[in-house]
Structure formats: structure tokens, C-alpha cells
């Protein structure tokens, strides 16, 4: 995607080309980034979000500096208190002298394309702490609970030197489970008063928790929810012969209650992963799916670019819409022109 001689990202076109030292704009930006420039970090994230032409060059320079941060995912339905929990969790990590990066994902409008990113409202006490970097990011049409670019932003904050990177997903329903492929430890945040016991027995998001967090534990209905979740956790443990049994923690994040226990539980999970080569295995799996994902994206885009440029696409739409051709045959014909001998 980054062709030689192509104009560098609009985001830093003010000093486009090469600098007096002869290094590229990307190199200069990454140098500033690695020496701790918040502005450079923020700009690189924007380049990633926009998939500007410089994206691949920048990530190439950044990648060797990644792999040190511990990534915690915080997911759950909207209104369960994920942002408030993120705030309390990050504040305690800071007390223990860890630096923290936070990626807060909120949905983009499917109609207007814009977004209202409101997670920062709950994170006021972190806003002037130089050990914390918070970035709000919109899904821009990506499904699965994260933005397409969230994995890249995790890497950027990792290379920026943050000890922990916390990823707060969009309000997740039942099937937004991408976070499990991004985080080392996934927290599933639940709150009393949403749905009956059957909801907690279903597949999907209930399965990806390394730690269950019942937030708003000062509200009514906590005991019932706890026993439902416990039944689920016990069953998963028995049925799947999992080595890790997901604990269930009670928190009231807004009052800072239960947060010490939560941080300790994440630490236990981290110690569990460190044993018997589990962490290496986990990260290898993630690397595999990430490469596959990137490869699919690149191949799809290049082929679509090529194909959509030919004017065949409009022709096909017309034919299919007027029932002169069926879409199944049309698609196979296209694949055959791109990949001779296939299909």
C-alpha cells in the first residue's frame, strides 16, 4: 500500500519529504516517538487510523520495539461501567508505578460515519498524569467490538513504553469477541439487572472471560447474577477441562471497591500464562491470526482495487439487479479472471 515516491501522510505533510539530516519523515517521527514525544505517538496513531500511505513504513520501524506491554481487555455490555472500571483499574496500576496506555473504542454511526466518543468523561483523574496515555477511537464500520486498527494502536502504545495497555471495547452484546484475540487477559464486565439466566448460558462473549467482573455490586440482584455466572464458570471448567478457572470478582468501580482484588486477579492470570510456555503459545496464536488477517486485507484490497477499476463491477451490478445474471456465477467469473485455474 505504500508505494515508493508516494506523498507521505497528509497528517504530517507540513514537513513532507526528507529532513535536513537525510532521514525520511517516517524515521524522524519514529525517533521523536521513541524518545517519548506524546505528539508523535498521537500522530502515528492517526496515521494508523486513517491507513495513510506511511502506515506500513511506520509500523515496520515500530514493530521491533513491541512485545513488552501486558494487554488487558475490558469488555461487556454498554452501561455496565467499563469506562469507570478502566479508570479505577488504571489508577491502581499507577499507584503501583506501572505506566498505562488506554484505548477506548466507541461505535461510529453507520449512517453518518461520525462518532461520539465519551469514554474519557469517566477518566478525569488520569487526564493529567504523564504516565497515562488515553486514546479514544471509533470503530468506523468494523464489527467485532474493536476498530480495524486497534491491534496496531496496541503495538504503538506498547512500543511507546507503556507497561500495561488496556483496551476498552465498544459496548459488546453477545458476539463481539475480537478482544480475546488482542488481549492477554480479558475481563468481562457484567452488571445486575440485564437479562435472565439463559443469557449467561449462551455461547459467545460469556466464553471469552479470563476473569468475570460483576460491577455495580452495590446494586440489587448481585447475588442472583453471581450464582448464575458461577454456574457457567464451573460448567465451562468441567466441560472443557480448562487449566484456568475464571474467577468472579465483585466491584463497585465508582466507589473504588474491589479494584485491588481485580488487579491481583489479573496478576494471577498473568502468572498462570507465564508457566509452562502458555504465554509463548498464546502470543504465537495471536501472531498467526494477525498475519492471516493482514494478508487477507491486503490481498482483498489489491484485488478489489484492480477489479473495481475495470468498470466491470458496475456492469455486474446492473446485470444482477436486472436478473440477467445471478451473483454467484458473476463472482466466480471474476475470481477466475483474477486467479486463472481457480474455481
Amino acid at each position: 500500500m505504500c508505494k515508493d515516491g508516494q506523498k507521505p501522510a497528509e497528517a504530517f505533510s507540513r514537513n513532507a519529504g526528507t529532513s535536513p539530516s537525510g532521514s525520511s519523515v517516517a524515521e524522524d517521527l519514529v525517533r521523536a516517538f521513541l524518545s517519548g514525544s506524546v505528539q508523535a505517538a498521537a500522530r502515528i496513531i492517526t496515521v494508523a487510523e486513517n491507513r495513510d500511505p506511511a502506515f506500513f513504513d511506520l509500523m515496520k520501524l515500530i514493530y521491533p520495539h513491541t512485545g513488552k506491554a501486558y494487554v488487558v481487555g475490558i469488555t461487556g455490555a454498554s452501561g455496565t461501567g467499563k469506562s469507570t472500571l478502566t479508570d479505577a483499574f488504571a489508577a491502581l496500576l499507577r499507584e503501583r508505578n506501572f505506566t498505562v496506555g488506554i484505548i477506548a473504542v466507541d461505535p461510529s454511526s453507520p449512517f453518518a460515519g461520525g462518532a461520539l466518543l465519551g469514554d474519557r468523561i469517566r477518566m478525569q483523574r488520569l487526564s493529567l498524569d504523564p504516565g497515562v496515555f488515553i486514546r479514544s477511537t471509533a470503530t468506523r464500520g468494523h464489527l467485532g467490538g474493536l476498530a480495524r486498527t486497534t491491534n496496531s494502536i496496541v503495538k504503538i502504545l506498547d512500543a511507546f513504553g507503556k507497561d500495561f495497555v488496556i483496551v476498552e471495547t465498544v459496548g459488546a452484546g453477545q458476539d463481539e469477541v475480537d478482544i480475546a484475540g488482542t488481549a492477554d487477559t480479558t475481563l468481562l464486565v457484567l452488571a445486575p439487572g440485564l437479562g435472565d439466566a439463559i443469557q449467561n448460558m449462551k455461547a459467545g462473549i460469556m466464553e471469552i472471560a479470563d476473569i468475570y467482573v460483576i460491577n455495580m455490586a452495590d446494586r440489587e440482584g448481585v447475588d442472583r447474577l453471581f450464582s448464575q455466572v458461577k454456574m457457567r464458570a464451573d460448567q465451562d471448567f468441567d466441560l472443557r477441562k480448562n487449566a484456568w478457572k475464571a474467577p468472579i470478582l465483585l466491584t463497585a468501580a465508582i466507589h473504588n471497591e474491589g479494584i485491588v482484588e481485580l488487579v491481583d486477579a489479573v496478576e494471577s492470570h498473568r502468572r498462570f500464562l507465564m508457566k509452562n510456555g502458555r504465554m509463548q503459545k498464546l502470543r504465537r496464536e495471536k501472531t498467526k491470526s494477525e498475519i492471516l488477517h493482514l494478508l487477507k486485507e491486503e490481498i482483498t484490497e489489491h484485488m478489489l482495487d484492480h477489479f473495481l477499476g475495470e468498470g466491470q463491477f458496475d456492469e455486474l451490478i446492473d446485470k444482477v439487479a436486472s436478473r440477467r445474471k445471478d451473483p454467484y456465477t458473476g463472482v466466480r467469473e471474476i475470481v477466475r479472471t483474477i486467479l486463472p485455474g481457480h474455481a
Binding site: 505528539q39 486513517n50 454511526s109 468523561i121 471509533a138
Partner: protein
């Protein structure tokens, strides 16, 4: 394939001022026009707003004040932006701002002030026009 660049806006309420209906409405309006709007919530200091704009790589900051403290807070935001070399950020003011104060705020670097009666379309257009001008000319 580059994705369409979105205008990123920080919308903020400064100081001891709980009147946020206007700011919240504007968040929705700007998001409806395709922008990505970070609402920081109430009781922000200029330092908090500028730090948020820095981390979010914001193109625009909207400052809302209905408490009369704008002559103190708005220029302070501009000063901090200058210190951090964030001169390209377009800063707009809104709320209850007496006519007589507007010239001074503009002198301090506030690009425009929108009071009661300003149409939401006017504000959206102003941002789109001026943000574009900034990225083109640097």
C-alpha cells in the same frame, strides 16, 4: 487503501459550569456531520483540555462557557496550545459570551465565537471550511 480522514473534535466544558446542553447537542450535530467527537465532560481545566487534544491528535477544540469565565479560560487554552506547538488546532468558543469580549478572544487566537442563535449548520460549515484550509496550507 487509505481510509477517509475524519475531523477529530474535542468538546469541553471549562471550570465550574454545569450548563452542558449546548455542548452535548453540538457533539451530536458534529458527529452527524461525519466528525469524531470526544466529549471530555464537565469541570475541565485548560491543562486537561490541551492534554486531551494532544493525545487525541485533535483538529478542533470546542470550548463552551456559560459561566462568564471565558476571558480567563479561553486565552489560557490558546497559550498552552502555543507552548505545545499545537498551533494548527482550530479553537472555537461558544455559550454566553458578551459581544464586547469577542474581539479580545479572537485576538487571543479563538477562530470564532458562536453564541445563542447560531445555527448548528453554520458551526459545522465553519469547521469544515477552516479545518480544510489548515491542512492544505499547513
Amino acid at each position: 487503501m487509505p481510509v477517509e480522514k475524519k475531523v477529530k473534535v474535542i468538546m469541553a466544558k471549562l471550570g465550574l459550569d454545569g450548563h452542558d446542553r449546548g455542548a452535548k447537542l453540538l457533539c451530536r450535530v458534529l458527529a452527524e456531520s461525519g466528525m469524531e467527537v470526544v466529549y471530555t465532560g464537565l469541570r475541565q481545566t485548560p491543562e486537561m483540555i490541551v492534554e486531551a487534544a494532544l493525545q487525541e491528535d485533535a483538529d478542533v477544540i470546542g470550548l463552551s462557557s456559560l459561566s462568564g469565565a471565558h476571558t480567563h479560560f479561553f486565552p489560557r487554552v490558546m497559550q498552552l496550545l502555543k507552548e505545545k506547538k499545537m498551533d494548527r488546532v482550530l479553537v472555537l468558543g461558544g455559550g454566553i459570551i458578551p459581544e464586547g469580549d469577542i474581539a479580545d478572544l479572537k485576538k487571543a487566537g479563538i477562530a470564532a465565537v458562536f453564541g445563542p442563535g447560531a445555527s448548528t449548520g453554520e458551526i459545522t460549515d465553519f469547521i469544515k471550511k477552516n479545518v480544510q484550509r489548515r491542512t492544505e496550507t499547513g
